[in-house]
């Protein structure tokens, strides 16, 4: 990081400017998208082969795992970035498998809260450990310092995107 402060003009920037200069964002986006797809597919494959689970199910369970008191479906929807209607079906299937249960709190009958069952917790614990290992494996060739830097810089991208949405959203 930190090239060319004030005063001097950096050659690299000039080169970029003349070569392309405009489509850097598009190029970055395409690479982010393909890399994310690649990793997703790999995780999906392993979740399926080793646990008979799907990635959205894993994501949903991950959210419930860190909120042992359960989450309202709307909250689940926000945290998993999945639409409401989608959460309904997802939770339904997980309930069928006995991994999640639904209950309506006394105070407000509009609300449905989903929780992990004992069985769900146990399964998730195993899956989460495997999942973390898969990611370490996949990124094994990447310098740890780069990983930290990527995390920060992608955070910057995320913030920028959040500030330029047409609809409404945040982090």
């Amino acid at each position: 990081m930190a090239e060319s402060e004030s005063g001097t003009v950096d050659l690299e920037i000039i080169v970029q400017g003349t070569q392309e200069g405009k489509k850097q964002e598009l190029r970055l986006w395409l690479r982010m998208l393909s890399t994310t797809k690649l990793i997703s597919q790999e995780i999906r494959r392993r979740l399926r082969n080793e646990f008979g689970a799907t990635l959205p199910q894993f994501d949903l369970m991950a959210q419930l795992y860190r909120e042992r008191d359960g989450l309202r479906l709307g909250e689940l929807s926000k945290r998993t970035m999945v639409t409401n209607g989608n959460v309904t079906g997802l939770v339904e299937r997980l309930e069928t498998d006995g991994l999640v249960l639904r209950e309506t709190p006394d105070g407000d009958r509009r609300v449905t809260v989903a929780k992990l069952t004992k069985k769900g917790e146990e399964l998730f614990t195993v899956m989460a450990a495997a999942h973390e290992g898969w990611l370490r494996d996949m990124m094994a060739d990447v310098d740890p310092a780069i990983i930290v830097e990527l995390w920060k810089d992608i955070g910057g991208v995320k913030s920028s995107v959040n500030n330029h949405l047409s609809g409404a959203a945040f982090d």
Copy 2:
């Protein structure tokens, strides 16, 4: 976690090591995933509102646009990172809308080649320009140098992942 090179010990690494040290990859992955989802949703929304198109359709057309002679469905499947069966339906719908056409080459009747129609080309040209602009907007707050750096470093991640897949794939 294999830190510490020879001689000097970097403070930052120590801090990382004591704080977490292990889950950096997972943390990065979660951020990549959420950021990608965020951008995807925004692009999807705008494609729908402004052009009545979907993101997978746009992706598919983008591939055909840069291969004016058309692509075999298998090639389309690889480039869009979508399964064969999915490409079939995608192309079918685009054909219904008159944006894409299918033809079987003389030499090999197993093959189906998809091409953009005139109408498809014209629509894609307009969409692509808008699409690029949206990305520039969304990433407007990110330093251009960071964008280039992210592109490179994510490339490194992609390579690493490709080298550690359980199934088979490449770039």
